[in-house]
């Protein structure tokens, strides 16, 4: 009886992947705009038509830095709006425009009750003209998320749900689950993906390039001039543009 071929030479069907490799994406993906993150995601980007869960302590933090490039790309591709369900604050148009997102196409839906938020998210997913749904669902239960997930699978939309960190102990139907921490640097743990568990933390910039440049410039200047008293008054205007450029 001939020996069976070594496992590495076997061609596996796309639904099956080896434990040490990333799965091939079954669905379309959207590049996240961060090369380090793309390298760790199956298919090289956010999976479309699947639930993506982002856990973080402060609900407003790192949203645009993490998702901004992908969102800008999705919205620019077909001119379709994105829906924000239960966003913690109002998005600020001029700043988002600088990131490439058209703020006039962000549909903000506010609802206090958790059930109303879920309903709004589900209805948005069923709409043909929406390209992405971002929902803040702190109290959602696993079965409610599963319902959203199933709803998303019927479409090719980007669905991201933001939840607090304690939710990491609960089971999730999400295809991709991320834990986001850190203030100065965006520390990203991939808790769940189709592939081997990722032990190290991914580090992404926590601010847009220009802002980081400005802050770095300020920091170095302060270090070089330690004698300068801390903010006593405001008789000098900051020429942010020259510093940042």
């Amino acid at each position: 009886m001939p020996a069976s071929a070594p496992a590495s030479e076997l061609v596996l069907p796309p639904q099956v992947w080896r434990g040490r490799e990333l799965a091939q994406a079954q669905e379309r993906t959207l590049p996240s705009g961060h090369a380090a993150l793309d390298a760790q995601l199956p298919g090289g980007g956010w999976p479309l038509g699947n639930l993506i869960e982002v856990l973080q302590q402060e609900q407003q933090q790192h949203v645009w830095q993490l998702l901004g490039p992908a969102l800008a790309q999705a919205m620019a591709a077909r001119g379709e709006p994105a829906v924000l369900v239960g966003a913690p604050y109002q998005p600020f148009g001029p700043a988002l425009r600088a990131q490439g997102i058209v703020p006039e196409r962000l549909l903000c839906v506010q609802a206090d009750r958790a059930s109303a938020r879920l309903w709004a998210a589900e209805q948005s997913l069923r709409c043909a003209d929406v390209c992405a749904v971002l929902a803040w669902l702190p109290q959602a239960r696993s079965e409610e998320l599963r319902r959203l997930h199933l709803c998303a699978q019927a479409t090719e939309k980007l669905l991201v749900v933001f939840r607090p960190v304690p939710a990491r102990d609960q089971a999730t139907p999400a295809r991709l689950r991320l834990l986001v921490q850190g203030a100065e640097v965006l520390e990203l743990h991939i808790l769940k993906r189709r592939g081997p568990p990722l032990l190290q933390t991914l580090l992404l910039p926590a601010q847009p390039e220009r802002l980081s440049a400005l802050l770095a410039a300020r920091k170095s200047r302060r270090r070089s001039e330690p004698a300068l008293p801390a903010w006593s008054g405001s008789h000098v205007l900051d020429r942010t543009a020259t510093l940042a450029g």
């Binding site: 709006p81 604050y89 600020f92 148009g93 425009r97 962000l106 903000c108 203030a183 847009p208």
Partner: protein, 456 residues
């Protein structure tokens, strides 16, 4: 000639059936209990008799009927319909073997005719004409001739009212608004027939119910109450209107039990039809954006479903305005349509160029805007000050120098000019914040600090 006779069920749906029939032929009339349609001229348009019947009776039809029959003349069709309803087999020889009991004009003379042994059309026709005319009147002869197609048939043809305005009695008193929906559905179905026949799309509707009581707890009540349903794009689709009505009725309370419901159109526009496309990306399943926005607005309140509109102003809180999405959604719809058009016309080269343009625009955003925070508070939040240091979930460390803003001194409406110094500050728990200090405040010694935005 091809006549169809149809018995609507229940009888109140007669008018709706008549309107539906008008889509297929202009010759629709009521005769006795049934509806008559002369469809000979439109047979070819609908692809033959079978298809025409399928369109009329089955496809997309929410109205119901008892029975239908077809024949070369109206009276034959009617007679066949009556036989069908009595459970009799249609005779082999039409119209000669049809029983006289199915002819309306013969009804007063049935007993006499039966006694002389005359029970079918053919038997009556074989009697001498002059005698029959003298004995039974000219009407019976005229009817008989019409049934045989030897005399033109004339009916008062149905025409459509210019406005839809119909009232229905409720089967039982409705004590809550959702109870009205069942009857409302009937009215909406009729509305659909009317819209299709007139080739109109509806924009606004009024649903009005009559209250059964004149006064309640000593307080006089208005005779009726109403709600208005509006949709952004003209529609003939009743499903969307029904959903809107049910959402709106679920939020409405009626002040007393109601006994009748009335539906009328407020605004209609010519219906352009639904544009269909062969491209797979245009045929995504799901509803339209404006339908989504309307349903969300109706259930959650218009102020909770918003779109941002940019405004030219230097004050950050005035740089954008949250508009109710219901009124603003048309612009987004137009943008989608334009984009689709552009995509279909784009060659690979131009798409590459435009993508490059997008990237270029990406790389060099306006200087000041890229330093603004992506989240903003609706109203600045006053911060605590502890020993000259602003405090938000802990002490704040200022990271930049002041960015000075002086605006609105020209604005007569503003209470006071905006004189602020903006800083980027770091909080241990909340990350980077955008805060400002009021300059030239009345009390200079204790500066007032406000939180205005958050970096994400």
């Amino acid at each position: 000639m091809y006549w169809i006779a149809l018995q609507p069920s229940p009888d109140e749906d007669r008018t709706a059936w008549g309107w539906r029939g008008l889509q297929f032929t202009p010759r629709v009339a009521f005769a006795d209990e049934a509806l008559l349609l002369e469809a000979g001229a439109s047979e070819r348009l609908f692809g033959g008799r079978k298809r025409l019947l399928r369109c009329l009776l089955k496809e997309g039809c929410e109205l119901r009927f008892d029975a239908w029959a077809a024949g070369p003349t109206a009276l034959v069709a009617l007679a066949l319909l009556r036989m069908k309803r009595m459970g009799l087999q249609a005779p082999a020889l039409v119209p000669d073997d049809l029983p006289l009991s199915t002819l309306t004009a013969a009804a007063p003379h049935l007993a006499t005719l039966e006694r002389i042994g005359c029970t079918t059309f053919g038997q009556l026709r074989s009697l001498p004409r002059a005698g029959v005319g003298r004995r039974f009147g000219a009407e019976l002869l005229a009817a008989l001739d019409s049934a045989h197609g030897e005399r033109p048939e004339r009916y008062p043809w149905l025409t459509l009212p210019p406005e839809f305005d119909q009232k229905l009695e409720l089967p039982a008193l409705a004590t809550s608004a959702p109870d009205l929906l069942f009857t409302g559905q009937h009215l909406l179905t009729r509305l659909q027939s009317w819209l299709q026949a007139r080739n109109l799309g509806v924009l606004a509707l009024e649903l009005e119910w009559t209250l059964d009581l004149r006064r309640l707890d000593g307080k006089p009540l208005p005779p009726n109450e109403c709600i208005e349903l509006r949709t952004a794009q003209p529609t003939q689709e009743i499903r969307h209107l029904r959903r809107l009505a049910s959402e709106q009725l679920a939020r409405t309370t009626i002040s007393a039990p109601a006994n009748a419901l009335r539906l009328r159109t407020l605004e209609t526009v010519p219906w352009g039809g639904v544009t269909t496309s062969l491209l797979p990306e245009d045929n995504k399943p799901g509803e339209k954006l404006h339908q989504l926005v309307e349903r969300l607005s109706v259930r959650l309140g218009e102020e909770n479903v918003t779109l941002m509109q940019p405004v030219q102003d230097h004050r950050p809180e005035c740089m954008q305005q949250a508009m109710p999405a219901r009124g603003a959604v048309d612009a987004v719809d137009a943008a989608i349509a334009n984009r689709r058009l552009a995509v279909t016309q784009e060659t690979p080269a131009t798409s590459e160029r435009s993508a490059a343009g997008v990237r270029k625009a990406h790389r060099q955003p306006p200087l000041t805007e890229s330093l603004l925070p992506p989240w903003i508070l609706r109203a600045p939040l006053k911060l605590q000050v502890k020993g000259d240091q602003p405090w938000y979930q802990g002490p704040l460390q200022l990271l930049t120098r002041a960015r000075r803003l002086e605006a609105a001194w020209w604005d007569a409406q503003a209470a006071e000019p905006v004189l602020r110094d903006y800083f980027i500050a770091r909080s241990a728990s909340a990350g980077l914040l955008w805060i400002f200090r009021e300059r030239l405040a009345a009390d200079q010694a204790r500066a007032r600090w406000f939180l205005h935005g958050l970096y994400a």
